[in-house]
């Protein structure tokens, strides 16, 4: 066995005819050094879950989802120079139904939160979320705003937070790669508190505000109720 090719079995020791037959059946184009390394027994032994997680982590479809300033840096991350595709996660999908990962790039305000929740719900499981920028952590520079949701985690669970205002593309790449690592290792998403839910208007607890709006909103209309006084 030569030392520079450690995985190749000694040619003289095996019946090469069988191996040749197996390899030539494929056509030469498909043979690589890796394939050669498997030699006459082209099988690997692993756990199914581990294999599936590795597949998931190696090819992530991102949701093409722009909200605010951070989405400009997100576009730069996808485009030339930073090229997120190098890491197997650079295919933005326009439809949430085809996406695995949602990058939330910007400030969430009251009018948009129900829509973001809806888009998140439309993504198939398993799904992951990268929160990009300070606004998705706490509301960022706009935290005091009367209309601003204090962090995306008030609405949907988030796996990775990338801080910055906005984060540089390199930082986002780092965050996404960290997510891929976690997915490949089968690490579960953190449990988060989600105070704001989409619900039917009739399911809300009756109070002054609900009574006031009864004439304006149908019973089966979806609504989101914000308790700004309880926000962090």
């Amino acid at each position: 066995m030569s030392s520079d090719q450690p995985f190749i079995t000694d040619e003289s020791q095996v019946v090469t005819e069988t191996r040749d037959a197996r390899m030539t059946g494929q056509g030469d184009r498909f043979n690589s050094r890796l394939r050669e390394a498997f030699g006459s027994s082209p099988f690997i032994l692993t756990k199914f879950d581990k294999f599936l997680n590795w597949c998931r982590g190696s090819s992530m479809f991102m949701l093409q989802f722009g909200i605010a300033c951070c989405s400009i840096e997100m576009m730069h991350t996808y485009a030339v120079k930073h090229d997120l595709d190098r890491f197997g996660s650079g295919v933005p999908r326009a439809s949430p139904r085809q996406a695995d990962v949602m990058i939330v790039p910007g400030t969430i305000v009251s009018k948009f939160a129900p829509r973001m929740k809806r888009v998140y719900d439309q993504m198939p499981e398993p799904k992951f979320v990268v929160g990009m920028g300070s606004c998705t952590i706490s509301g960022g520079p706009f935290q005091e705003g009367y209309n601003v949701i204090k962090g995306a985690e008030e609405v949907i669970p988030i796996d990775i937070h990338v801080p910055g205002c906005p984060p540089r593309p390199e930082a986002l790449v780092y965050g996404v790669v960290k997510l891929q690592e976690r997915v490949a290792n089968g690490e579960a998403a953190p449990v988060t508190v989600k105070p704001y839910e989409l619900e039917e208007f009739s399911d809300l607890e009756r109070d002054e505000l609900v009574d006031k709006l009864t004439d304006q909103i149908d019973d089966d209309e979806l609504v989101m109720r914000y308790n700004f006084a309880d926000s962090p």
Partner: protein
């Protein structure tokens, strides 16, 4: 010199003194409340249309920049800031006080179409009601919102409910018995073609658009409130970067700097003005490059190559801006009275990097012309689609490349000079096509003009005497402009006239801070361009408007 305007021998262009204007308005005027930038006439709330019509038709004030509303201890007030497209230094403000208990004021919408959205915003945020308004409802906040957030007694902590409605087809009733069926289509708020979070309520008749209504407010980040709770000296400056966030940061910062410097009477050193001018034009290039990139994508998905090329050029400008300011996107580089630090050392390297960029720019612009503007598919999609006649553009208060693409020769850098622009040699770009193609051409040619400006600035900066490199004027640590001073000042942002109205109340924070966003007015023209066109043309028209939602919604 190229900066001189073509002559206009029109009665309306004659400049009138404030007293002449007061005589023209006669009994309509009940008082004077002059602002720093313009004379201001107080009128009764039921004579708004008459006053504005007189000023528009007899005195030539054909540009309603903005309507800024506010609440005082004893009254509400709407201010109509008027200008002339031919000479924006001629300004006049019309102040309309309204009753504290029952704030009702006449709508200006029949005179200026653009007042429609501006008054809806005033109603939404302040709570003034406008009589005779065609469609007075909330524009930025959800329709179920309680209270008016910029009014005095607003409680920020009260709970609120936002809805996620299913939209009914608003035209269905009209077509019940007709042969043609209409279809209601939501475009957005999450849709790649809307450049962010814009919602277009579209009604289709077959493939054609019967009605389109932009629904905004999905990125209303309370920018005006944030500015009103910050101190003039340092706390407001970071926010302008986040209005028009497509790398137009320095242009936005200049809008605030200009308004606040004029308000507090601060003189900016010449050297700092040259640096500002150079930085601002770099931002303009970056912003127009993204406009070009996304417009190409909107028109035809096959133009991803153009997108990548333009992003590549943007990266180069961003590198220069990062050298200059220390940040890629949110620069926070201007200070009242100058800029925060001098050019990066070694200076020669910065200059030679800038020159390298400028040297390769003509070649890449040539490349864009090869890739898109001379492409037949692209031409078929953009020439003669999204028509915006100049008169309509003016009526809606459109500015920037949108107005210049309709042949409206209006550029504040030349017409209301600030910074170092009037000392440099460059041209204002206009195109007469009024279509999507013209608006793109204006942006592409403006990139060349910006390059000319940057080059002259670099020449100047290289030879600037070493001992005169003052980057900041002497500005007091705490600024407290005099009580009840009001000012409206605008600069030419990447998208058009970006103006700020500030009212001071003697403290170190503004009492009212109103942002006049060019995109807000430009977006209003979309239905004019889109109705009756095919649905792909609506997408192209929207792309050619080059809106950025951070600035539309603020």
């Amino acid at each position: 010199m190229s900066l001189e305007r073509p002559d206009t021998a029109d009665d309306a262009a004659i400049e009138r003194t404030p007293d002449e204007l007061e005589a023209l308005l006669g009994d309509l005027v009940v008082g004077r409340d002059d602002h720093l930038n313009a004379p201001a006439f107080v009128i009764r709330p039921d004579t708004v249309q008459e006053t504005l019509r007189t000023l528009k038709e007899q005195a030539g004030y054909d540009h309603l920049s903005v309507v800024s509303a506010q609440e005082y201890e004893n009254r509400y007030e709407s201010i109509y800031h008027l200008k002339k497209y031919d000479d924006p230094t001629q300004e006049v403000s019309v102040v309309v006080p309204a009753d504290k208990d029952d704030p009702v004021s006449e709508s200006a919408e029949p005179v200026f179409r653009t007042a429609d959205w501006h008054e809806r915003e005033a109603y939404d945020l302040i709570g003034i009601e406008y009589d005779d308004h065609p469609d007075l409802r909330r524009i930025l906040l959800p329709e179920t919102w309680q209270g008016h957030p910029l009014s005095m007694d607003y409680d920020k902590d009260r709970p609120q409910i936002a809805t996620l409605p299913e939209h009914a087809n608003p035209l269905e009733d009209h077509h019940k018995d007709a042969e043609s069926d209409t279809m209601f289509l939501n475009i957005g708020p999450h849709h790649p073609a809307t450049h962010g979070v814009l919602h277009l309520k579209t009604v289709l008749d077959g493939e054609q658009v019967a009605d389109v209504e932009p629904d905004i407010g999905y990125l209303h980040r309370s920018e005006e409130q944030m500015a009103q709770s910050g101190t003039y000296r340092h706390q407001i400056m970071p926010y302008p970067d986040r209005w028009d966030y497509i790398s137009a940061g320095l242009l936005n910062e200049w809008a605030y700097a200009r308004a606040a410097e004029d308000l507090a009477d601060i003189e900016v050193p010449e050297y700092a003005q040259v640096i500002r001018t150079m930085g601002a034009e770099m931002c303009r290039i970056a912003a127009h490059m993204l406009a070009l990139a996304t417009f190409a994508l909107d028109v035809n998905g096959d133009f991803t190559a153009t997108f990548m090329y333009a992003i590549n050029d943007r990266e180069r400008v961003q590198d220069l801006l990062e050298d200059l300011t220390g940040q890629r996107l949110m620069f926070n580089y201007f200070r009242l009275g100058g800029v925060v630090w001098d050019l990066p050392e070694p200076r020669e390297e910065f200059f030679s990097n800038t020159r390298d960029f400028l040297d390769q720019l003509p070649e890449s612009i040539e490349e864009y012309h090869n890739l898109i503007t001379s492409n037949e598919v692209f031409q078929m999609r953009t020439i003669d689609t999204g028509i915006l006649p100049p008169e309509v553009a003016k009526n809606y208060g459109a500015t920037g490349p949108v107005a210049r693409g309709s042949g409206v020769d209006y550029d504040l850098r030349r017409d209301d000079p600030y910074g170092y622009y009037d000392e440099l040699d460059w041209d204002v770009v206009t195109e007469d096509g009024c279509d999507n193609f013209s608006r793109l051409l204006v942006r592409m040619r403006e990139v060349e003009e910006s390059a000319k400006i940057i080059e002259q600035c670099v020449d100047l900066l290289e030879d600037w005497p070493e001992d005169e490199r003052t980057i900041q004027a002497n500005v007091p640590r705490t600024l407290r402009p005099d009580d009840d001073t009001e000012i409206y000042r605008a600069v030419e942002g990447a998208k058009g006239e970006l103006g700020i109205y500030i009212r001071s109340d003697g403290t170190d924070k503004p009492a009212r801070f109103k942002i006049r966003s060019p995109c807000f007015s430009n977006l209003q023209t979309l239905p004019e361009m889109a109705n009756g066109e095919y649905i792909p043309d609506v997408i192209a028209a929207l792309g050619s408007l080059d809106i950025v939602l951070g600035e539309v919604d603020r």
